[in-house]
Symmetry: C2
């Protein structure tokens, strides 16, 4: 019987700029008695990746541009925060009071281009950006975990994204290494021999969603989840999940 | 340590119009030695719900309207299929060759208003619609499972939806009973005492995504998944996941 297990090892230490995130992940897994095996997926909340990379900004050091001031007026947001959002974005897609939906320079379309106050813990004026290159961060963590545990594990860096049409956020893979992020069924037969023509499943986002269920966002939250039971090993990267603008009907 | 387990009991029988889906689910769980307990979530692929309900259409009996013929020309689709899609929709949101993104009468924005050939198995000309009332179907299955197993289980009816911005489909809850589908963190503190202001997690969609990972869409696929380890019991319904049109910036 196909079975999936997922664990959220705790405690996980506070991560600050410059900390060794790989060492913290290895210690947390070992401390919980978990040893990743071939095909397992380790999901890490992007916030700790960003913090370890020093991808945090103290808003007290930011002087908003005229463009940021104008957008902040429309969005009813702190102009310094808007300046940071604009610096992270290649386009602003939608704005209304309280909300800026931007296209991050890496292609993710999400609220505030991923710039966020929560679970940063470096003072009220310090926000976290997305990791500089989440796919590269996932690849580095994967190499380190493979060395530590001698197993072919995949790594996903996840975030929570809102989406059009539907309420609430779900986990999304913004970095990946060691798995095929998209699983195509095109050309395969269904249960009855009908040949599937269009089905491609975003498995990396589904792993990210499962991890999100365990991570939580509040005080008891933890950034690390280990998933076992499926095997989607491959060489995908999360940028493959970005739908090209010219193919997107809703941007 | 927070842990999630998910099982996809097999074999699951072929479901045909009029079959007793609840009995099939109970038998599949029992056959696999699985007894749901309080807080568990049973996820059922919508296709078997639709088929049990007889929500299937033989395209040979359909005469396309002028509107369907025109849209079929643009979308390069079978006009009879387009007629069925239009009958299921309250609006067509985007069209291009090979693709109709419609708003189903229940509010889901998805390809073909959920009308689908795959995993129907009643002949090449027979398509399945979404269940008539997926929340009600979930509630009925929930009542039956509670009686069969004496446990307070939740039920989700899931589908695979494409989404703007990102490639591939992910599991989505189109029916739910016995759980809070949205988990708000608003007003709670994060790890560092920062009060969260906007975070609401679509937990029902994340359960649906996990189930999707196990269900698959090809010949070896199975419609039934049992999930254990979290407890989001409540009285939510999947229609709560529909973002009202006036609040949606991308429709």
């Amino acid at each position: 019987m196909k079975t999936v297990l997922a664990w959220a090892p705790e405690p996980f230490p506070d991560i600050r700029p410059g900390d060794d995130l790989l060492a913290a992940i290895v210690a947390a897994l070992r401390g919980a008695g978990l040893a990743p095996t071939d095909g397992d997926v380790v999901v890490v909340a992007h916030k700790v990746v960003s913090k370890a990379e020093g991808r945090v900004v103290d808003l007290r050091r930011i002087t908003p541009s005229a463009r940021a001031l104008a957008l902040a007026e429309t969005a009813k947001k702190d102009p310094r925060l808007v300046e940071v959002i604009l610096a992270e974005s290649k386009a602003v897609r939608r704005v209304r009071p309280g909300l800026i939906i931007a296209e991050h320079r890496l292609g993710f379309v999400c609220a505030n281009a991923g710039v966020d106050h929560s679970n940063v813990g470096l003072g009220d004026d310090v926000v976290a950006l997305l990791p500089a290159d989440p796919d590269a961060a996932a690849a580095r963590l994967r190499a380190g975990l493979q060395e530590a545990f001698g197993a072919d594990v995949a790594v996903i860096v996840n975030d929570s994204h809102g989406r059009p049409f539907r309420q609430g956020t779900t986990g999304a893979a913004i970095g990946a290494a060691g798995l095929r992020v998209l699983r195509s069924y095109v050309g395969e037969e269904d249960r009855y021999g009908y040949v599937l023509r269009v089905s491609t499943e975003a498995v990396a986002d589904e792993y990210a969603a499962l991890a999100n269920l365990l991570q939580g966002q509040a005080a008891e939250g933890t950034p690390l989840v280990l998933i076992r039971g499926l095997d989607h090993r491959g060489e995908g990267r999360a940028v493959e999940l970005m739908r090209p603008e010219e193919e997107d009907l809703f941007r």
